[in-house]
Symmetry: C2
Subunit: 214 residues, 2 copies
Amino acid sequence: MTSPAPHFDDAFRGTLEQLLVWRRDVRHFRTDSVPAALIDRLLDLAQLSPSVGNSQPWRWIDVRSNEARSAVRESFLRCNAEALAMQPADRRGLYARLKLAGLEAAPRQFAVCCETETGQGHGLGRRTMPEMLEYSAVSSIFTFWLAARSVGLGVGWVSILDRAEVEAALHLPTTYRLVAYLCVGWPQEDHADPELERLGWQERTSAGRQILLR
Amino acid sequence: MTSPAPHFDDAFRGTLEQLLVWRRDVRHFRTDSVPAALIDRLLDLAQLSPSVGNSQPWRWIDVRSNEARSAVRESFLRCNAEALAMQPADRRGLYARLKLAGLEAAPRQFAVCCETETGQGHGLGRRTMPEMLEYSAVSSIFTFWLAARSVGLGVGWVSILDRAEVEAALHLPTTYRLVAYLCVGWPQEDHADPELERLGWQERTSAGRQILLR
């Protein structure tokens, strides 16, 4: 427990930056399978994520059955059709051409949930900001995502879903709240820029880089 | 744009795991200052975080003034006193001995917010799950956190705060929602295990590692 902290050098930091640069939201997957041991390894690493009060509230659901996957896909298709219909006329064509999920091809799919009633952590740090539990689940997703990219795997986060519908379709415990639905597999291509930028939907800006002083 | 994707090797992955292991929530900071260029670098890296629809909704507030810091500290002290009073009798003494924030010493402090009304991203991916904007802000925090650890800096996430109170004290735009208040500085000590585990509040468990199959 008292081993000295590792030293992280410039070479590591440079490669870490490359990992951040090349981490992408992937929607184009090859269908070949992913070794189960590799996924297990990524899930182990996700356990190292920060969580409020050490509550570790993330719950990963391994969605395998055709029935469950079909239900998720149907929810996506309906929600996406609704979103398309609500686009302003001048963006509707562009929206229609976007590929917003890899649900039909991704060999591994996970519903990542938050256990909203966990006793772990004894409530510490989440009385005034109960969202902290969900934020903790997000941190486990981000750890998984980076670790996946470090072995060449792609992750796509699908949020065009009816939360309650997916929770019901997956027969989740009532205390589980869906935070993300992830597609995981080998990407067809690697990119350093977001697909939404390449396709002209939304470029990156400096809006978030303007630090307000208080 | 079409440069080949980098190859991440075993050595990098091993060091990345060490980074995840030694990333901690820090509450004990040295008071010596942090070079501004170093913080700038971390904020640049945070811009590489994933965001729904490429909305980049994170907004970082650099909290410098004594007035603003005092207001945050007062909110913490009151919320923490309330939390202490609500502890069951058998845990109250333990709770009282925990140090749950480094607000009095951390040389740099940031309120990380979500711009809830951003037009960036044109609403994509957040119609049915509006929380995606906050989740995106969380991803920027986690990127910053890992990058900070890679240069030896500690980050502590304070959530024992009254959100509305802090938002008012910092005179935030009404569309900003507080996601996290971060203390940043050089840690007094490095640890591979969480302080809440060392002090007997909550050990890590395998609850989140039990993958449900669907």
